[in-house]
Symmetry: D2
Subunit: 287 residues, 4 copies
């Protein structure tokens, strides 16, 4: 693999302590890497330090396969949790959807237009309705009908397929099934869901109906990582739109669709560009 | 009273039915009033019709004191709930605050600059801290210390004072006491509160702390009419601001202050200009 | 044609005068139509009255083909400009694009998902690049290469084709050619363009580069009807997104794409639902 | 002066080069300062590196008066433009206003409530109208009537007074006079103006009238540093509000007031907290 145009991304977090920044920047300096993005954050209350650094491999003093080993002593010294990724790795995404097509369509079109640097080898659904859309885009479509009785077994089958397809990221594009605990544990911080409300308001089903009933003047959408607790995972991105008494539930659904699409796509983009660090039940988004 | 420059505002609601709009507009046409604002809304689900009409008194065929009587037969025919107001009436506002001054300051400054057509004869507080601000603006300041034991008696005294001062509207400018049921009933749809979150998210106390803990990417503020159920009244106006992981609780409070001020001021302004109709637990805002 | 579920939409404007609203609502009342949406606006400065009324045909006292004739006397009496449309008419849209696919893709996907009640018989482009997208959606693709020398002749050919296809609305989905005066005149208030800036800031080409150079903190997109003066037509819809010093021109372009898609789609939707009245160089949007 | 609770803020910019970050963080590490905020930005196109670091003085290895000297060699090595400030220094602000009181009132109230860590020793105006407001807040008020003939002389007198008062920051709170070139040069990047439009749209006078005429759907406000070219200085902050055909010019002015107040206050706050770096005609805002 050539290193031309390739960048390395280092994401790390650890207890805040003196000398941290100096140690990392000294490492990069000796590394001779041209830094093109660096951002950091200290959570004063939790005393946690989080950092993202991205630098060009070309011109770097050490080979890409040796960076991790060279960094390991620093990581150990400061007790870091860290990851190292290279921009020429192409992540593999599985899109999950149910019956509503708008998020699926939007993600597939963005992918086709080259907005996402990723592969999308499969679409999974608990219904058959969206098969034609997946096939229009040349993506394999797998429907897994799920009932309370079959759920465990089906999720096992699903997990096996995802593993075989070497899936890095699962995107729930208005997938209306709650994933089991074991499933979620397998893809910790690697399942992104779009919830059609401004969480924590209107968690659960039918948020637009509840929003209409409550008479809110603004609706929202929330992209978050999935955890075993429904709608409680770390929030990645949110956005809102103004509504009025003139808007029926159908209008809220219509206006909400655009929010959902954009918020979910932004979250996927941030994840793929390695811009997100999860700590506790929160995210740091280095944008 | 001269009618020059004065407008009449008719606000009405009733079960939706044919002939309604024709009857009202025919009334106004015969009335010979020059309509300067008209807006209406039909809630299809509830089958409720709501309307606001504002017209110039000058040139109107009937005297202002006869409009109500002339309209009464139409109102009865359609089963309307309605109100009629004239723009030269100057409503009297009581501002309630506790210790945080920003909303109080903002409202008093707006009033002083002539943004509100109203009188502000008194500021009420359960603390003494804000007395100097009220006095700077030449407004009487009354502190009512409230404990669980004194609450009922104090609210009775307060009600008596408000009645004596002929108060039309109570604005809770970050007033941190829950008003009793009897008090609220007395000023139904005439008490506006600002809640420092995007309701229904983070109802109750310490919303900024909760928002920070949940890791939301957007915070909000909500102005609503007060009902006996805390933070559950009809929403008048909401607004939001973007936040990030960089924002501490103190930053949320700082950014939230500006939201609170603006959202509360907008709600007061809409109320004073007779732009709001409450029905069920919702508002129609004719802006 | 059955009238079940069909609505009639009346859009009108005229010099403001007394009796107008009474006359229209009386007409509808006698018409016996169940009004499901009514909105009106008086431009006080220009003394212009504008109104939109939508009612159900089913149960109406007069047949749809007689409504126009019955309304004509009222229109004449008040000097109205007016239009009458029925919701079961399916407008025909031509999409124009150049090389950037995102707006084209978005509109075609929305159309396919049933968000727009319309037919899309053809995509027109001055390049061949987007042919595969049109064909994926089963829409005919016509490329018209345009040079200063061929422009007049090509636009004549284009006009002939549009006429033959009975096109009601042209949507410029990032079409980078300026349309000739004759062309624009033919489709007055029926060509919608998306401009990739918050007009009137950064009119003309390369707005994201200019925005970046100027160091703005917010970018925008503007949908407007096309007039002979470039980027000067009546604005239908605008929206904005926050940016920072961290955003390169490429980031502005990326963030701007989502604005462009949503703003253009909203404008098309408003047009198709007959929610827009153009007067002077402005729009009234009855949403 | 005690160092307890005091922070040092280092703002620097220089040509981007390797070893920069390592050198600065190594300096701070040796310095033994507890970093509470660090942010940096590389403008790839201009190859400029910009950084802000804030650390606690208490516990630092070198005394505050020696930090500058100790940093100087690093600054020279990398060709840095830099500044060092301490959070216990209280900047002195002069507020300039003309006839409109809302921004002046808002800034004075924020100052009084302790939102700004600053002194406000004087208000300057080219009219006498706002004298009572300044005096209510116990701030000296100076009116300088300015005509084309007296402008140069008056600005000289004004400069002398500002110097005598050791003014650090001038805030133009809807001050409607254009400042002369010599005046501006004296307070380079230390004069903040609020312009009542979304620049660069509607530069110059009467932006709300122009916005109304153009029929925009969103209005804005822009806070920027003043340069000799009117409305062309580096933008610090912008915000927008949605408007519609229902809004008259008076409504735009009313809605715009709230934007102006908040946007100006945010810019002043960012400046006072040393969050802004100006380079070229842009700002980096480290928030």
């Amino acid at each position: 693999m050539s290193d031309e145009g390739v960048t390395a991304v280092l994401l790390l977090s650890c207890p805040d302590q003196k000398g941290l920044v100096a140690a990392v920047s000294d490492f990069l300096y000796r590394n001779d890497g041209n830094i093109i993005h660096a951002d950091q954050h200290t959570d004063q209350e939790e005393s946690i330090f989080l950092q993202r650094v991205e630098w060009e491999l070309a011109g770097s003093a050490i080979a890409r396969e040796e960076i991790g080993g060279a960094f390991q002593p620093i990581a150990e010294r400061f007790g870091m949790t860290w990851s190292l990724d290279f921009s020429d790795y192409v992540p593999r995404i599985a899109l999950f959807a149910s019956r509503l097509p708008h998020c699926l369509y939007d993600l597939l079109a963005r992918w086709r237009m080259g907005e996402f640097r990723a592969e999308v080898p499969l679409v999974v659904s608990n219904h058959a309705d969206l098969r034609p859309i997946a096939e229009d885009f040349g993506v394999a479509f797998h429907s897994f009908s799920i009932t309370p009785e079959t759920k465990v077994a089906q999720e096992e089958r699903l997990l096996a397929m995802l593993e075989e397809e070497r899936i890095d990221l699962i995107v729930l594009a208005r997938y209306m099934q709650v994933l089991g605990e074991r499933f979620v544990a397998q893809y910790r911080n690697r399942i992104i869901n779009i919830h059609h409300s401004f969480l924590p308001a209107f968690a659960g089903g039918r948020p637009y109906h509840l929003a209409h009933e409550r008479g809110v003047k603004i609706i929202g959408a929330t992209a978050h990582y999935v955890t075993p607790e429904l709608d409680e995972g770390p929030i990645i991105e949110q956005d809102v739109a103004r509504v009025s008494h003139r808007d029926s539930v159908a209008d809220l659904i219509r206006k909400g669709r655009d929010l959902e699409k954009v918020v979910l796509a932004r979250a996927v983009d941030l994840h793929l560009r390695r811009r997100i660090l999860v700590y506790g039940n929160k995210t740091v988004v280095f944008d």
